[in-house]
């Protein structure tokens, strides 16, 4: 089973913090992989907020291909970060040729482009690079995870703690205020780095604990919406990121409606909601995106709000807790205990059937939005 550990903080933190939290939850995962996604970057990246960062893994040949491609597109490398790989004896990690974290300047032709045009360019570039990489299924020359300003993704197969050290994150970390880490490769099927959470699309990302039983109709529905970015789906959990994107970006719904999209209320339950009529229409039209889980989804909105939401039957663990300025979203309380010592655990929130738990950038408090009546409770933190 996946183990999830996300921290949103007012200060910059090292990715080793959520990774060490994963270590405390080790009984629940098989140590088969690590997926890291970082946002609100610090250190050398703090001054590079406006430049899109490409996170990828390549072979030597793939690296050359990627360089040529980016050059041809007019992207110029602004800053290059490479992990300081440390492969100690006993590590079971198979090092790949190149791990890329490159910040680029936009092509000159896009200097006066709108934000939407720039976003479209970044997404199209990522998808094209992915397509180039997928031409060789056996030994893909390029694997690209994200291409977006202020977002870095690292993924590798192996024990999460080992992978963290392998990337040298204990000595030379990329600091960030929001870090998602997930401690498992998708071992149900053939190993494929694209199947490793978190999943990213245009500033939105999610990771999920569980099994998405309605994966096929949901995938087909997303694929049929006419958005070229709705591809991949090497993991059934990738749809959660895309549903988030669809609901926020395509439909323009406020964030908490994500809950109403994936776990709609029954017709008989909407009476206490002011927007009951809208819910009735949504439930019909978005029927194909209803999930049954069991799923605990931890996501990050494009505006930086981190949330946790459960399927209707709440068959997966999940807890949110912390102190003012630092909140953990984890699959188990022991993870928060290790990452954020000294918190008042009485204020921990275990999202249930109707809860949508949010923490906004700055991590001052925990908001619990109740789907049944549309109210929000604030859990203040000390």
């Amino acid at each position: 089973m996946c183990r999830l550990s996300a921290i949103i903080s007012a200060e910059y933190i090292s990715p080793m913090e959520p990774i060490l939290a994963l270590e405390t939850m080790k009984e629940g995962h098989d140590g088969s992989g690590l997926g890291l996604m970082m946002r609100s970057l610090g250190g050398e990246f703090e001054a590079l907020r406006e430049y899109p960062i490409l996170s990828a893994i390549t072979t030597h040949q793939g690296y050359l291909t990627l360089q040529d491609y980016m050059q041809e597109k007019g992207f110029r490398v602004k800053y290059r970060w490479e992990p300081q790989i440390k492969l100690t004896p006993g590590m079971k990690i198979q090092k790949r040729d190149r791990y890329l974290v490159n910040a680029y300047e936009y092509p000159e032709s896009f200097e006066s482009a709108t934000q939407a045009e720039k976003e479209a360019l970044l997404t199209a570039t990522r998808l094209e690079l992915r397509a180039i990489g997928e031409r060789d299924k056996v030994n893909p020359p390029i694997t690209v995870f994200s291409f977006w300003p202020d977002v870095v993704t690292l993924k590798e197969v192996g024990d999460p703690l080992e992978v963290g050290e392998f990337f040298g994150l204990d000595k030379h970390p990329i600091m960030a205020k929001t870090i998602f880490s997930q401690g498992r490769q998708n071992t149900n099927y053939a190993i494929n780095l694209y199947a490793c959470h978190p999943f990213f699309i245009q500033g939105f990302f999610t990771m999920t604990n569980g099994e998405n039983t309605a994966f096929v109709p949901i995938r087909q529905y997303l694929e049929s919406r006419g958005n070229p970015a709705y591809v991949g789906y090497n993991s059934d959990s990738e749809v959660f990121a895309h549903i988030l994107h669809y609901s926020r970006r395509t439909l323009g719904y406020p964030l908490h409606y994500y809950k109403d999209v994936i776990t709609p209320l029954a017709e008989t339950e909407t009476g206490r909601r002011k927007d009951a009529e809208a819910l009735r229409l949504m439930r019909r039209s978005l029927r194909m995106l209803t999930i049954d889980g069991p799923n605990c989804v931890i996501g990050c909105d494009a505006d930086g709000t981190v949330f946790m939401v459960q399927d209707t039957k709440k068959l997966r663990p999940g807890v949110v807790g912390g102190v003012k300025g630092k909140v953990g979203f984890m699959s188990e309380p022991c993870g928060i205990g290790s990452a954020i010592p000294g918190r008042d655990s009485d204020r921990d929130v275990y999202p249930m059937k109707y809860d949508f738990v949010m923490v906004r950038p700055g991590a001052k408090e925990i908001e619990v939005w109740n789907q049944l009546d549309g109210s929000t409770s604030i859990i203040s933190l000390s």
């Binding site: 099994e211 039983t213 927007d275 949504m282 049954d292 068959l315």
Partner: protein, 551 residues
């Protein structure tokens, strides 16, 4: 010397030629005459035969052989009076002395077209083999990767939507603060939330008053008491005016077919209706007899039916094979769907039902482009009917599984898989597996299914089967009183028992659907299009349906 009897009996059939041969045990028979009086086709009759018997009589009895005339039950070898295997004789026999036995080597089809008239019957395609639907298995079982749901404890929403669902991108919603509110829009299609198994169209006329009333009462009970929103279709021929004006109309789908029978009454009742019907089904075809219109024999058109349909009594009512004023799907969609929608102020879903056919996709694509088309009903070759030519029943039509799958996957390509629900029919519950067949079709892409023959068999003991047993719905001599307008026959059928059985089968199907969906981890929504849950032990079927092969 001339022979005592004629040996020239050519052109007469023998019992070996007949599909069912009566086994009669003279030692058990009481000669009460019940079987011969109840036989719907007069296949058996009282007779006498000279028999040699051994008798011992007198004060010093000694066995002696004597010849005696005894009464017997005789089976006719006239084609028109062949035994249909209904076994009503066995039903009424107090001593279990008689039963029909199927004769697989019969020659009936070589002789059924007497008078140059092809063989007509009721029922459905006579193919007793395991159907494709029954070969499908549910193989994606939650095992450790995800906890199986509990069919008895978890909350399940076994409901579907009948009506056109707007694509999310076109929903008339706008932001108000941090919430969404509807904004004015010219037309938001009407949608009904219903149970995914419906009772398919069977008309007042095809069905006896007691049968139809029993179904209707069962439907009302399911909705009002059990709160399970099961709906039923009227078939072609309308409804009694008092029902049209009743609060129960909302549980009925009014069907309009090429004969337009019953629609004068319906239109006259519109101003007096307390509620809207569940939907309007425009029947363009029937799976059982594609390309044929409805057929109601003159003998069945009795008083109340003639009144509902607005026709004289005892005239044969054969609907044309197609709506005479429409010669294309475009025209049909443009005229009929719009006209029907207008009649109820666009508050009622209106959708066409077609026979399963290779051209279903063309119909579907037209509907996908029409904002008023609420759904598409596809009735496959295993659908049933009250009256049709045997050749239509046995040889015409398209199986439902691949037809549905093709249509659903086409909607997926268009992104309209939720916009235009498909209702599949034709052999649902053919071998008694109502819920499993329904679940299979839903997972292939149907939003819901229709069932007719299963309902008749389960609620009223319809005797028909795929070995051509009974199947005389067209003659008005239904031995169970289901498809007859003869009071002597339909009084055998207690409408309250029918209603109770309707409730039984839907409560049970509801439970069985949950037992299927729970291990597959689907409860909040129907597993529409969840084809990864299905497998079949046949490579060709798996490939055609786009499901996995498992053996």
């Amino acid at each position: 010397m001339e022979s005592a009897g004629r040996l020239d009996v050519n052109h007469q059939l023998i019992l070996n030629d007949l599909p069912y041969v009566i086994t009669w045990r003279q030692d058990r028979c009481l000669r009460c005459g019940r079987c011969t009086s109840v036989c719907p086709v007069k296949a058996i009759e009282p007779g006498v035969e000279e028999r040699r018997i051994v008798e011992s009589a007198g004060s010093t009895p000694a066995p002696a052989s004597i010849r005696k005339v005894v009464s017997v039950v005789k089976q006719s070898t006239i084609v028109e009076r062949r035994c249909i295997g209904c076994a009503t004789c066995r039903l009424v026999c107090p001593n279990d002395a008689i039963e029909p036995v199927y004769n697989p080597a019969n020659k009936f089809f070589w002789h059924a077209n007497r008078g140059g008239e092809p063989y007509k019957r009721g029922g459905r395609r006579n193919d007793p083999d395991v159907s494709v639907l029954d070969r499908l298995k549910f193989t994606r079982i939650s095992m450790l990767t995800d906890p199986a749901l509990d069919a008895a404890r978890h909350e399940f929403r076994v409901r579907t939507l009948l009506g056109r669902n707007l694509p999310p991108e076109k929903l008339p919603l706008k932001l108000s603060g941090d919430g969404l509110i509807p904004e004015g829009m010219a037309f938001v299609p009407p949608v009904r939330e219903i149970f995914p198994i419906r009772i398919g169209g069977m008309s007042i006329g095809a069905l006896s008053p007691t049968m139809w009333e029993g179904l209707a009462m069962g439907i009302a009970y399911l909705n009002e008491v059990e709160k399970i929103p099961v709906v039923m279709c009227t078939g072609e021929g309308g409804m009694p005016a008092r029902l049209l004006k009743s609060p129960f109309l909302k549980y009925f789908i009014l069907q309009i077919a090429s004969g337009y029978f019953g629609w004068d009454e319906i239109i006259r009742a519109i101003p007096h209706m307390q509620c809207d019907p569940a939907a309007i089904e425009i029947k363009y075809g029937q799976g059982a007899k594609p390309g044929d219109g409805g057929l109601l024999m003159a003998s069945k058109v009795i008083g109340h039916i003639a009144k509902i349909r607005g026709v004289p009594e005892f005239v044969e009512l054969s609907s044309p094979p197609t709506h005479q004023t429409k010669y294309s799907i475009e025209e049909a969609v443009a005229k009929m769907i719009t006209a029907m929608s207008m009649a109820w102020g666009f508050r009622v879903p209106v959708y066409p039902k077609i026979s399963g056919t290779k051209t279903a996709l063309a119909v579907l694509n037209n509907l996908a482009r029409n904002p008023f088309a609420a759904a598409l009903g596809i009735d496959g070759e295993d659908g049933g009917t009250g009256a049709a030519y045997n050749v239509s029943l046995d040889k015409m039509g398209h199986p439902i599984a691949s037809n549905l799958r093709e249509c659903y996957l086409n909607l997926v390509k268009l992104g309209a898989q939720n916009e235009l629900p498909i209702f599949a029919a034709g052999g649902v519950g053919k071998h008694g597996n109502l819920a499993a067949n329904a679940a299979s079709l839903i997972m292939l892409g149907a939003s819901g299914v229709d069932s007719g023959k299963y309902v008749m068999q389960a609620t009223a003991g319809c005797l028909g089967d795929e070995r051509n047993r009974c199947n005389i719905c067209n003659t008005g001599k239904c031995p169970r009183g289901i498809t007859t307008q003869d009071p002597k026959l339909y009084r055998r059928l207690d409408p309250d028992v029918v209603a109770q059985r309707v409730v039984d089968i839907f409560l049970s199907a509801d439970k069985e659907l949950k037992k299927i969906f729970a291990p597959m981890g689907r409860s909040t929504e129907l597993p529409i299009g969840m084809s990864d849950g299905l497998s079949v032990a046949d490579q060709a079927i798996a490939e055609r349906l786009g499901i996995s092969y498992a053996c």
